[in-house]
Amino acid sequence: MSETMAGLKKIDECRWMVPQKGGMKVPGIIYSSEHLMREMGADESPKQVANVAHLPGIVKYSLAMPDMHWGYGFPIGGVAAFDLRDGIISPGGVGYDINCGCRLVTTRLAYEDVRERVRELIGALFRDIPSGVGSKGVLKLSPKEERKVLIEGAKWAVDNGYGTPEDLETTEDRGAIAGADPGMVSARAIERGREQLGTLGSGNHFLEIEVVEKVFDATAASAFGLEEGQIAVLIHSGSRGLGYQVCDDYLARMVKHLGEIEVPLPDRQLACAYLDSPRGKEYLAAMACAANYAWANRQMLMHWTRETFEHVLKKGPRELGMSLLYDVCHNIAKIETFVVDGKETPLCVHRKGATRAFPPGHPALPARYRNVGQPVLIPGDMGTGSYVLAGTEKAFAETFGSTCHGAGRLMSRTQATKASRGRSIVREMADRGITIMASGKGTLHEEMPEAYKNLDEVVGVVHNAGISKKVAKLRALGCIKG
């Protein structure tokens, strides 16, 4: 190992070690390339990887994926697993947007079928799907219905006519985490959730029409139902105000009781509770509610997308064949079983800006994907397109079955706004053949492509490191933004 970059040690071409020192209970490992590490410059995320390593009950190492950047508390792109008996759960290690995630819908349409219709489709999607700051959905849930959403997740949406039961088979955890208890969700969170179900949101959330540009792994692509030239739709959204409020409520409660944690925390945003304590269990039950809400939300967004395609293209559901390839969450904490010291051990895995990437044969996978591994969806920045990867044994052994979640920010929002001053991002995208419609103008500048790391490079690292493998790359044709 060679010593480079502010105390980090290079393990190999894809991995960097944050050596264990001070109060760190385990070392840190960052999956990244030399170039991506250099590009991050003074970004403080390696320090945040070290901070997470201080937390009680952390197992093996504190991890970060190549799309890592400076967050609050945990770095974005962080993965950490905790022992159920003496470990903790941290709302900041999940993030405000609980179960922010994405789903990819494949179609029977070829690029030629929609080339001249993308603008029309995007216009109709923009009209039909509520987006933007504080956007309200078309439903106003009764408290009783909202409780059902929080417990049943995507199944609630399907039972209420938004999609089909087959959609649940290709949703991570079938669109609901067990143990959700609406009694653990505050009145404020319930109130914020009431009118926002079925809304895209704002910021980095989007809905994109894409075309499969390149297939890397023919066997996996065929199992996933992907082929070159095919049209697909990517939806990126989360649990809206309800999730933000759940995180906020529990952070505040845990900050009040920091004294109960055996070690002094290097950052208050790392506030946490022991998994085996009432407060820890209450957060898990509330977090599950928010996660389930997000799955119901994405299920509804997909349903309207299907309807819009049917209206605009005047084709029936059978002809369009819009089927859910998969839905993944990338801000979550889950109880999953891994081998630790040769023993099967249930752990609480935090993925904050990281995606589950389970290997072939894992019982959590739907039967049709069991031979190729879990589909992993990696959205790029606005208008770039995305990748479909597959989970691997190596991820299961090295990263608690986790991989990256996107391109990862490079510029801060203020830097991006400054750098794009006087430019028309909509026109620039149009010149590249991409139709964009957005609710907020500011968002477009903050979310411009140069503000993000290069997606090919990020995906290249996880592919080369073997913690997931490339299956296909998709190119954006049109996008609606909040």
Binding site: D43, H69, W70, G71, Y72, G73, I76, G92, G95, Y96, D97, G132, V133, G134, R188, E191, R192, G201, S202, G203, G241, Y244, Q245, C247, D248, L251, A252, V255, K256, D267, R268, Q269, A271, R409, L410, M411, S412, R413, T414, Q415, G440, G442, T443, E446, G482
Partner: protein, 138 residues
């Protein structure tokens, strides 16, 4: 003197707030939130509400206070135009807000602010003034 300044923080929104007194610092922090959210020239002060917040020191108080300030919009769709603080010490704050309900036909929305974080939270008194630092999740 500027009331606040936005600084770079990769994915989030960092804000430094200033005031001649601690009271003014808290008033300016609420102003910063709504100045970033909307065009305040279009907001009138026609509805009032009271606020009481508790904290364990200035920094905790500032976070708890801004969480309430942000909830005005995120929870109740209320835009804050003016704010006054009647009582303040490191453990508690009593204030009054005035503003009006968000009307999409009349008001603009610049960005979404999801939450107030504790990350790098700071409140201090310098010889010249009071300074605070907050990072928002956006």
């Amino acid at each position: 003197m500027n009331r606040y300044r936005v600084f770079n923080h990769t994915a989030d929104l960092g804000v430094e707030v200033y005031g001649a007194t601690v009271k003014e610092l808290f008033v300016n922090a609420a102003f910063a939130v709504f100045d970033m959210l909307t065009d305040l020239d279009r907001v009138r002060a026609i509805e009032e509400s009271n606020i009481t917040v508790e904290g364990e020191g200035w920094e905790d108080l500032l976070v708890n206070y801004l969480r309430e300030v942000l909830y005005l919009f995120n929870g109740d769709g209320f835009l804050l135009k003016e704010c006054s603080i009647m009582e303040i010490d490191p453990q508690h704050l009593k204030g009054k807000f005035s503003g009006e309900r968000f009307d999409p036909l009349k008001h603009t929305m610049n960005k979404e602010i999801k939450a107030v974080t504790y990350h790098q939270i700071m409140v201090r008194e310098t010889p010249a003034r009071w300074e605070g630092r907050v990072i928002f999740d956006v």
